[in-house]
Symmetry: C2
Subunit: 261 residues, 2 copies
């Protein structure tokens, strides 16, 4: 486990995400995996299948974060241009990789299918890239520099990420504690801000939920240090009890904590 | 209806989206709405609750696209900093808006609740901004320049967007035709690329689906001109029939089109 904090960005590529035809499932999956691995996902971008847009976003992200993960655009059709765009971003040629050609040729031969020109497109990658294995449909993803290029089909993206995540040095995981709060943000905002100020080594998030009638809140304390999480969580629980007592008093009730649902 | 093509970007704000705690639902909703309205969503970014990150992304996006839509960070707690960040991006003070203060004061008075300092935070917006009504929970979103700032809670985001979308001039809608293709991208890649080349006034997308055993494809033709969509779709249907006939011949079968499931 490393004490250095690694950061990450995701670049999801595809017109279908921007037209609404496909609702992305890869961002949330990656976010979950990275959180468990102790790697901080700092930014996500979604761009269309346009080479300039991909190159610009990729160069911005790869310069800024420890890792970049991309999804989409590595299939065999004309609109799959991610390998070309990544090659251009790194200033290297995009070539049919010999090892990928063999993997795919063998797979299609075994299935009695032609290894068409379109299928051969899936062996193209930037010169010098290494493979990300694809146990679902063979055609590999690839890694160049700090950029990990994966398919957009969720089953394939997930299989590729399962491999990739195991190769990355795990960071010191961010611990989190979730506290259900029956009160809306309007009730807790001011005392919660004071608690955040008193616990600067934690990050306290407030996530409102609306059930159609009223707001409640989920409060999440996050920190890499367990004692810090515990101290902030205790302060939040005390705050909730204080608000509850105040509300009971205001409504003329004194049911005692045990009788309040 | 305008013949000018308007573009848009979305900026989703919130640590919870990057930690995986919350799976975003607003991007897909916005994408659907804009597609129907004939406005091209070109880019989406997700950033954390950090003022610098919000300001930088907002300034990049608002300079480049006709409209920017944001979600998240306009609640009453300390981690809701979108109003401050948007104000800084526009170089104007972030103030308690008088009309928003009155709306909220009246609403809380009607519910017998204190109009706390935290709740008053929800009336803060950049000087000169106009309101986006919030029929769900009163606290308004706001518009400044080409930037539309909305809540992250999906019910509220959707209610605000329902108002906003009706105020935007509808563009000439992009028409689309979806064609189910029983073959994988490896079979169709080369002829499909030729069809795209022959129909440059359309955008043909190929979306693979993997059912756990084999890939099929959904092909989508998009264009603002109906005749162009029809011509490309006809070419694609002919391509599918040609591949089917070829496969039937290769497997020694000649079932006739009517008997092929």
């Amino acid at each position: 486990m490393s004490d250095t904090i690694s950061t990450a960005a995701m670049l999801a590529i595809g017109d279908e995400l921007l037209s609404g035809r496909t609702k992305d499932k890869n961002i949330g999956h990656l976010a979950d995996l990275l959180t468990v691995a102790g790697i901080d996902l700092k930014e996500v971008r979604i761009v269309s299948d346009e080479e300039d847009a991909i190159v610009e976003a990729l160069n911005a992200l790869r310069a800024r974060y420890t890792y970049v993960f991309t999804s989409g655009g590595i299939g065999p059709t004309h609109d799959d241009i991610t390998a070309d765009a990544v090659s251009r971003a790194f200033g290297v040629p995009c070539l049919h990789d010999a090892a990928a050609m063999k993997l795919l040729a063998d797979m299609y031969a075994g299935r009695g299918l032609d290894f068409t020109e379109a299928r051969q497109r899936m062996a193209r990658m930037p010169q010098g890239a290494s493979h990300i294995p694809n146990p679902v449909s063979t055609a590999p993803g690839f890694i160049i520099g700090n950029v990990h290029v994966m398919a957009g089909v969720p089953q394939v993206f997930q299989a590729m990420m399962a491999h990739v995540i195991a190769t990355l040095p795990a960071g010191r995981r961010v611990l989190s504690r979730s506290i259900a709060c029956p009160f809306g943000e309007g009730d807790i905002g001011t005392p919660l801000a004071a608690i955040q100020k008193a616990h600067p080594d934690t990050s306290i998030g407030s996530y409102p939920h609306f059930d159609g009638l009223r707001f409640s809140t989920e409060l999440i304390v996050r920190a890499r240090d367990e004692a810090a999480v515990n101290a902030a969580a205790a302060a939040i629980e005390a705050m909730i009890e204080a608000i509850r007592a105040q509300k009971d008093a205001a409504s003329g009730l004194d049911l005692g904590t045990g009788e309040v649902a």
